[in-house]
Symmetry: C2
Amino acid sequence: MNLPSVVAQPGMPDAVRIYEVGPRDGLQAEKQLVATDVKLEFIRRLLAAGLRTIELTSFVSPKWVPQLADAADVVAGVDLDSARHPVLVANERGLDRALASGVREIAVFASATESFAKNNLNRSVDEALTMFEPVVRRSRDAGVAVRGYISMCFGDPWEGPVALAKVVHVAERLIDMGATSLSLGDTIGVGTPGHVLALVERLEAAGIPRGVLAMHFHDTYGQALANVHAALTAGITEFDASAGGIGGCPYAQSATGNLATEDLVWMLTGLGYHTGVNLEQLVEASVWMAKHLRRPSPSRVVRAMASTGDRGQA
Amino acid sequence: MNLPSVVAQPGMPDAVRIYEVGPRDGLQAEKQLVATDVKLEFIRRLLAAGLRTIELTSFVSPKWVPQLADAADVVAGVDLDSARHPVLVANERGLDRALASGVREIAVFASATESFAKNNLNRSVDEALTMFEPVVRRSRDAGVAVRGYISMCFGDPWEGPVALAKVVHVAERLIDMGATSLSLGDTIGVGTPGHVLALVERLEAAGIPRGVLAMHFHDTYGQALANVHAALTAGITEFDASAGGIGGCPYAQSATGNLATEDLVWMLTGLGYHTGVNLEQLVEASVWMAKHLRRPSPSRVVRAMASTGDRGQA
C-alpha cells in the first residue's frame, strides 16, 4: 500500500480537527431514501475509523428534506458520548426537536448571498439571520455550542463573484448573536488559495479571529485541497469533509461536491498531523456506503486504495 | 458558467509556465493505438486553446512504446515555430531521430530509485545516467535545450519512501552533465506539501536553484494541486500537466495520474496568473480527446464544465 512520507511544513498549526459532514451533508440531497439503519451503520464505521467530530443529521422540515425525516431516530441510535456529534437545525421548531434529542452542539445555515438565501431558505439574508437569533440564544442558554455555516462565500451560481464584505457582514451577525464557530462554505467550489487568504484576513480585520473559523471546501473544480493548504498556512485549524466525498452540489451541476475526508486525511498525514483516522478503515466505510448509494466514490484516495486491495468499488 | 474570483496571493512568482505533457505522457500508455491524425488534431486544439509549451512525443523504441512509433510523423505534422515543442528521447539513437526531425528541445527520463530504473529503463540509476551523458552533451552542442525528468521523487511503489538525498544525487548528475532544467516527478502521486518544500530546499542547498526546477505532480491521491500551491509559495514557476488529466500511472493502479491542465489553469487563473489559456476551448479539446479514448476525463474542471454546457462527456 502506498503512503505519503511524513514531512511537516514549518509555520503550520500544531493540530487540526476534521469535521465530518458525510451523514448529514453527504446524504441530504440523496433522492433515494437511505434507511436509518444504514445511516447508523455508516456513522458507526466512521467512528470506528477514528473520526471524532461527526455531524449526524439535520432537524429540518421533512417536507424540505425527506431524506433527513428520521433525524430523531438517528440521534437516538448514536452514543452521544462517543464523539462530538453536532446536528443542523433550521429554525426554533428544529431546535426544540434537537434539544429534546439530547445533542450538545448545533449548527445553523446562513447564506452570504441573497440568491442562495432566497433559493435555499426562502428568505433574504437578513431575514434568515433574524430567524436564527432566538435559535442561537436559546442554544447558548442551554449550554449548547452553535456553529454558523455560511454558504456561497467564494462565488454564487446566480450572482457570480461574492464580495468579501458580504461574508464579513453575515459572519459578524452570527458572532454577535452568539455563534461559537463559523464554517465558511465554498458551496460551488470555485475558490482558489489567494481568495481564501484574503477572506481570512478581512474577517480578522473585522474582529473575527482565525480560531473560530472552519473551512468547508468543495472539490467541484478540484481546488479543495489546495485551499485547505492555503488555509493551514493562515492558521485555520478546522476543516469540513465528507467520507468518500459524498454529497454533490446541485448548484454546480457536478457529481463532485464535498471534499473527500480521505483526500484530506492523506494530506494531513503527510504534513505530520495525527488525525487519529485509520485511512484503510475509512476507505472501507466509504466503499461500503458507495455500494448502498450505487455509485462509486469520487474520492481520489478511495479510488486508488480500493483498486489496489480487495475492497472493490460499487 | 462559474469562474474563480481573481485574488492574487502575496509572495508568489510573477509568472508561471504550464508544460503540457498530454500528447506524450498522456497517450504513451494507451493500449489502443491512437492514429497520428488524431494526435495532430489534439495538438492543434491544445495550441488553439492557448498552450505554449507542448511536449509532442517520445523517440523511444517502437518495441517499448508502440503508441509512439509515429514520433517522427507527429513532429513533422506540427509547426515547430508555433510554440515550444520538446520531445522525449530515450538514448542516442532516439536523439539522432529527434535531431533529424528538427526539434529544439529534448527531455531525458531518469529515476530517483533503483526499482523504477530497473523496471522502466532496465538499468541501474547510475547506468541510466551514464547512458544519458552523450545524449545531453550532443544536444547542448547542437544548441538544443535538455530537460531532465526524475521519476519517483516522492515515493516508489516497490521501495516506499524515497530519501531526498536520492533525488539530489540524480539532480546533481543531470545538471553536471548539462541539463538545462529538471522536472521532479511524483510518479505515484503520494507527495504532500511539506515534502515538496523540503525537496526544493534540499536541492537549493546542493546548489540547484529553484529557477531550473519544474514540478510534475500526479493526482492519484488528490494531492497534485495542493502540491502545486506549496511549490508556488517556494518560487517554482513551471508545472507539468496533461489536458483532461489523461495518462494514468500503472504503478499506482489508478485511473488517475497526471494533474489535469484544466484544474491547474483554474487555480492559476484564480491566483491572477495570465496563462493565455482559454479554459472553455481547453475543456472542449479534452472532451474531444476523451471521446477518442472512449472514457471520461478524470479532470474535475472538465467534468463540471462539460456537464453544464453542450459538451457532453464521452
